[in-house]
């Protein structure tokens, strides 16, 4: 039987507010344990939550960016369960009335087709603390620095049909939240993580299969592996005549497999109810207008503009707008080298991206800045150097940080465009290779490449390729 995979994601994005969602404590990552836990975060008797307006603004900006309805009135609810890293014995979240309603995001698949993924809702909530178990001689410790950090949980429709689609969607959300400046997107630190709801069904069926929820996936690679493992597991069960059990599963990255955490029967009854300590959150039209006006240019709009204004392919435009910083870098280069947006794009997506990737650097950490890259591209554009020589120049720039011009001068890499100099070099090569010349003239056209190579060698690669081509053809043809 052919099976179809059905995936929905719940993405948790930590909001980049300075203070927590219901207290004034800082949210900086990596502080000493419990250094950023106030009495409110510790759930002390008598303390009360006060909503952080910046968190609301960020959630609303996300909602507007995915074309969602923003609820004029949303309600914070308590999700009740006992756990040592949940100080109050309940998590303040939104349940029946979330701040962000239905919206959608378009993803582009590898074959270039576009797909729209529905967003069911996004709600504000507080994060829990962390339980630490390692290196404590059998004891556990609690770090409440993270307790009360604002999150938005973005719930998708079950619209994805493969791990690849899920990754594309997750990356799209990742790009978006960073564009909006509402989340640093740092997956290692847990600022951006997701739960995946995965089920399979016979291809063509319109009913969903029983799903498993895989918790706490904090890298794109893990999401892909966990989903693929889970799909195979479920298909094996079904093909073996078994039934998939609705349950929560954990992905073990070391073993590359998912395992059961708790079944539906063991699931907590969270006893949600509206939090009486917080008034319903009402959002007025004026506030919406304000947030809308402050939205940056969003990735899709930017990509469309790049394709249109710079004559780029949709693919290149997509690559260049994958992050706001990369797009900014590219536009900086374009501005400095007027009239060469395609050439600039090739260099940013080619040599620059490869070098960043090789050295594991972010665009902001690049050893070659936009002004320097523009310097290099300009020298290609004005024929000072060839594209081939430019690669060597780029390597040198990357290695020691000098500008392109300095390297070209120091290494004497300036292109030879003087026809007589090129002709002289051709004459020498022809004189040294009488046999090949005779063969060529008797009809062995393939030897043209040999002469190009030899002349280039003789000029240390500096001959202008177009000129060389033309002059060589003429000379080889004979007097």
């Amino acid at each position: 039987m052919n099976w179809e995979t059905v995936i929905g994601l719940e993405i948790h994005a930590q909001l980049a507010t300075r203070s927590k969602i219901f207290s004034g404590s800082a949210t900086t990552y990596g502080a000493a344990p419990n250094a950023q836990a106030s009495l409110v975060d510790l759930g002390y008797p008598g303390v009360l939550p006060v909503l952080n307006g910046a968190a609301v603004r960020m959630a609303v900006s996300f909602g507007l960016a995915v074309g969602a309805q923003i609820a004029p009135r949303s309600v914070f609810a308590r999700k009740n369960y006992f756990y040592p890293d949940l100080p109050k014995g309940y998590q303040i979240s939104q349940y029946e009335l979330p701040v962000v309603g239905k919206g959608s995001l378009d993803i582009v698949l590898e074959d270039g087709t576009k797909k729209r993924v529905g967003i069911t809702r996004a709600h504000l909530e507080e994060d829990a603390g962390k339980s630490l178990h390692e290196g404590l001689a059998g004891a556990s410790a609690i770090d409440l620095n993270r307790a009360g950090t604002p999150l938005i949980e973005i719930v998708s429709e079950p619209d994805m049909r493969s791990a690849k689609e899920a990754i594309a969607y997750m990356k799209k959300v990742h790009t978006l939240v960073r564009y909006l400046g509402i989340c640093d997107g740092n997956m290692q630190e847990g600022s951006f993580r997701c739960d995946a709801n995965v089920s399979v069904r016979p291809l063509g069926s319109d009913r969903f299969g029983t799903r498993a929820e895989i918790k706490n996936l904090n890298s794109f690679r893990f999401v892909e592996k966990a989903i693929n493992y889970e799909v195979t597991r479920q298909i094996d069960i079904l093909e073996g005549g078994g039934k998939v059990v609705q349950e929560t599963r954990l992905y073990d990255p070391d073993k590359g497999e998912t395992r059961s955490m708790r079944s539906k029967e063991e699931a907590n009854d969270y006893r949600y109810f509206p939090d009486p300590d917080l008034l319903p959150l009402s959002i007025e039209a004026r506030f919406l207008d304000e947030v809308r006006a402050a939205l940056p240019e969003l990735p899709d709009a930017k990509a469309a503009r790049f394709a249109r204004d710079y004559g780029l392919s949709e693919y290149d435009a997509g690559v260049l707008t994958a992050s706001r910083e990369l797009a900014g870098y590219y536009e900086d280069v374009v501005k400095r080298v007027a009239g060469e947006p395609k050439l600039a794009a090739n260099w940013v997506t080619g040599e620059l991206a490869a070098s960043l990737n090789r050295d594991n650097l972010e665009i902001g950490e690049s050893r070659v800045g936009p002004a320097q890259l523009a310097g290099l591209v300009s020298r290609i554009a004005d024929d000072t150097i060839s594209g081939k020589i430019a690669k060597d120049v780029f390597e040198a720039m990357w290695a020691d940080g000098r500008d392109a011009d300095a390297i070209i001068e120091a290494k004497g890499l300036r292109q030879i465009t003087d026809s007589s100099a090129i002709e002289r070099a051709i004459d020498e090569v022809m004189a040294k290779n009488p046999g090949q010349l005779a063969e060529y003239r008797s009809g062995k056209d393939k030897l043209f490449g040999f002469f190009i190579g030899q002349t280039m060698k003789a000029t240390q690669g500096k001959a202008n390729p177009a000129q060389l081509n033309e002059l060589l053809k003429k000379k080889l043809a004979g007097p």
């Binding site: 759930g43 008797p45 008598g46 009360l48 006060v50 109810f273 009486p276 300590d277 917080l278 008034l279």
Partner: protein
């Protein structure tokens, strides 16, 4: 006047005596501390008496008075209900769970009253986590009624009420979730005001049922209540449910006469259950108001009869969640040698909480459970809206509502402890105001079998000034509020 012993004077009189340096705050504080200590074996009204800190604060107050930096309450001793967090002082909420809890911060009410110059004498006993109507659920033992120590003082603010009734302190803070200020005020013959929900900050007041809890005051007279409320009320950015509205000068508003006041007599409050003697006293009180020029109108609150069942869904639901933080992990009682996490939770909570608290946590957990939420919690919220609407409608026709505070005078200790439902019915007349969030007060209006009974006045949102003025007018005509049990004179 100056011959009257210090403890027999009210808050306002003491404040003016201090300002005029008729006596010092240290002198006054020492006198009241002596009375508090002496009364403790008979009344058990206090959980902690903080003598040393009180005398130090009194000395500072005397300094402020001497240097002319005194406010209207500088040097006046008061008692805080042990539900308010007090920095560096044990804050137990009447529970074994918090027997060892020393708060690292002051509740806003405490901070406001500290800033106003009051001197805290100690922390008053109370029903455990404010759950009770007789002060018998306290881990620290029951409080006795100063009028008759075989009787309960009411609850949950029984300690605060007994302290004022026995004139051990001129005033006390208290809280009211379903009647916990007004019912003990009635049962001990003093004046008690539960303000509008949102009038006084809940920050630092240990939560029982967040949507109903409200801090208020207990004192001998409406005048004293006005003075204390003015110093503790006001918007608090740390409490999202506190209301940003200016605090009127309650003391100045006391002079408003009762002439022309339209008083609505709540028909439903004179049905079954109200003690006949108690009713006679109330009718006499209404006659006083008529004499003062008020008009009496019969009004109906058709849904108010559903108050008790509604309350006993909403309040336990909220308490089941509010009390989840007491898990033995970060503060409060922790069981010995827990085997594992579950054992830590179960035994710490099992040992730390008393029977009534457990009963309400279980009830609340049940009504919020999947499959029961709609039938109980949601329905109770809808009925709550109906009850609130009844009050709104009534206030279109009258200025204040009047009726009994409690169905009977104080009852004997132990009389109702085995039957929670009978105990819950004590609050039948008071709960409506909590569900609607409106202010209400209780004033003494007579005696039945030598025990005081109270008259309850309820007003629209933020009508505290009006209620206090109405109570004050009555107290200008009567002396019920000035009566003190013979042994405590």
């Amino acid at each position: 006047m100056s011959a009257a012993p210090l403890h027999s004077r009210g808050l306002a009189a003491l404040a003016s005596g201090l300002a005029q340096r008729e006596f010092s705050s240290v002198e006054l504080t020492r006198h009241l501390l002596g009375r508090l200590e002496a009364a403790q074996p008979q009344l058990n009204a206090m959980v902690s008496i903080t003598g040393e800190a009180a005398l130090a604060a009194a000395a500072r107050a005397d300094g402020a008075i001497a240097s002319g930096r005194a406010g209207p309450l500088t040097g006046v001793p008061i008692v805080h209900k042990d539900i308010f967090c007090t920095e560096g002082v044990r804050t137990t909420c009447g529970s074994r769970m918090l027997d060892n809890f020393v708060s690292p911060y002051d509740a806003t009410v405490v901070a406001n009253l500290k800033a106003a110059g009051t001197v805290m004498l100690g922390k008053a006993n109370m029903d455990e986590f404010a759950m009770g109507s007789s002060n018998e659920t306290s881990w620290f033992g029951p409080v006795k009624n100063p009028w008759n120590t075989a009787m309960v003082p009411g609850g949950s603010s029984g300690g605060s009420a007994a302290v004022v009734a026995a004139r051990l302190a001129p005033a006390a803070t208290a809280t009211d979730t379903g009647g916990s200020i007004r019912q003990p005020a009635a049962l001990t013959g003093i004046t008690g005001l539960k303000p509008t929900y949102g009038r006084v900050s809940r920050y630092g007041m240990i939560a029982f049922a967040s949507s109903l809890d409200q801090a208020g005051v207990l004192a001998a007279s409406a005048e004293d209540c006005a003075l204390l409320l003015g110093a503790m009320a006001g918007f608090d950015p740390r409490d999202s449910t506190s209301v940003d509205q200016p605090v009127p000068d309650y003391a100045a508003a006391l002079a408003t006469p009762a002439k022309g006041l339209r008083i609505g007599l709540v028909k439903e409050f004179f049905d079954q259950g109200l003690d006949a003697e108690n009713e006679r006293q109330l009718r006499a009180a209404f006659a006083v108001y008529e004499k003062l020029g008020a008009t009496l109108v019969d009004v109906s609150l058709p849904n108010v009869g559903l108050s008790v069942p509604t309350y006993y869904v909403v309040a336990p639901a909220e308490c089941s969640s509010n009390l989840a933080r007491f898990d033995g992990v970060r503060f409060g009682h922790r069981c010995d040698q827990p085997r594992d996490l579950l054992d830590l939770y179960k035994r710490s909570r099992g040992e730390g909480f008393g029977a009534e608290v457990k009963r309400r946590i279980m009830t609340g957990t049940y009504v919020l459970s999947a499959g029961y939420y709609d039938a109980y919690y949601l329905k109770a919220q809808r009925v709550r809206q109906l009850i609130s609407a009844d009050f709104v409608r009534a206030f279109e026709h009258v200025d204040v509502l009047a009726g009994p505070t409690s169905p009977t005078p104080a009852f004997p200790l132990g009389a109702k402890t085995s039957d929670p439902i009978t105990m819950y019915l004590n609050d039948i007349y008071t709960i409506g105001a909590n569900l609607a969030g409106v202010p209400a007060l209780s004033i003494p209006c007579g005696f039945v079998h030598d025990l005081p009974v109270g008259l309850q006045l309820v007003g629209p949102h933020f009508s505290e000034a009006k209620l206090l003025a109405a109570a004050h007018a009555f107290q200008q005509e009567t002396d019920w509020h000035a009566r003190v049990p013979a042994v405590w004179q």
